[in-house]
Symmetry: none
């Protein structure tokens, strides 16, 4: 796994799990990998995963069953989407629009970028 050095690893793990839930790769009720398994898989210390899982539990995305493990909560999709959407609408987008203004970039240009990006992905 490639870690971006600007963001805490445990938060990058959080993002990754949220993305997987949103992408439907993890279904409601699925058991999450055990802390040790996940840690081994992504090559980090188990404590780091404990932190990620703990964070996701406070967000209501994971549920902990004592002595058994963590599970994808029933509201995981919804909570994950809300979490991501809030971050996007309140923190990312305003900054994007402000930057566009400074760069004197029109919304039309942004649309062009979007469609280029989409086409680029399709050909991959």
């Amino acid at each position: 796994m490639n870690w971006n050095s600007n963001k805490a690893i445990y938060l990058q793990i959080v993002d990754r799990i949220i993305d997987e839930i949103l992408a439907g790769k993890a279904q409601i009720g699925d058991r999450a990998l055990s802390v040790r398994e996940y840690a081994a898989q992504v090559q980090v210390n188990p404590n780091t995963v404990v932190r990620s899982y703990g964070f996701l539990e406070t967000e209501g995305i994971l549920l902990n069953q004592r002595g058994i493990g963590f599970f994808i909560s029933a509201a995981a999709q919804e909570k994950a989407r809300a979490f991501k959407r809030k971050e996007f609408m309140e923190e990312i987008l305003p900054e994007v629009f402000r930057t566009m203004d400074l760069l004197q970039m029109s919304i039309q240009e942004l649309n062009d970028c979007y469609h280029q990006n989409i086409n680029h992905e399709k050909t991959n």
Copy 2:
């Protein structure tokens, strides 16, 4: 100024100065506020401003004349725009499009947000 963000304060100051240059509030050849003045103005430790100015100097946006102070370089506008544009196109936008995909958000919705945002600013 709110320093609540997760981003390092010195980088927030960098952004702020670049924004002012792009917005034309600081002209080529203008003398930048002294480190102490700026620090006092934004309520921050002078060392922090030193770091911001240093960063802008390596980017070619500020020029340091020893014993006199920092000045807006001749190429400041151009450099600032290039810096900002590169960051925007290569780091911000791809992530934005990826997030839109995860949130199943159409480019149309983004356009709507943009126009709402613009109108909101105009009425301020």
Copy 3:
């Protein structure tokens, strides 16, 4: 049953059984459910019930007749009451009074809560 609490499940089961004894739902000499039956009933690992029963045995509330099962001991009512009362008077109440002091809550308020609580239960 909700096992969400911070308390160990086997202790929650202990509390539940003590409560049933105090409430007179389990009579002296009654045979307790087998570990497996109880485990199935409350949806828990049998080992967990084993632990609860073991705890109650050391408290003299259950008796184990090898090969037959667990029974409510003759002194169960008395032992259960003593156990609960001791815990209540020595651990719970002092902490309750200290918290009331911190919250600047009067004994009158507590009385009000009590009566509200009672009325609420009656209407259920």
Copy 4:
């Protein structure tokens, strides 16, 4: 410091700090002891204090100023009281009343205990 082995140390530290705020020993705007200082004072590992402070920050009771330290937030009293009160009303009290019922203890007896307790404290 005496640690109760039933509760995580970092949570006991949280409780202790909340109690001090409610008791008025820590005033709004006061700087909290640095993580290292506090850790040395109560003889635990700094990481444990980091966890306590982090918890209190998410509760809005402490504020973190980057590179400077933690401070008692403006809303600390209110947040601390709300936190404690919620815990008391929703978790402690219902259990207390249920136990009183099981022990066939009247509200009058509870009042007596309260006044004894108060008198006892006064003579200390």
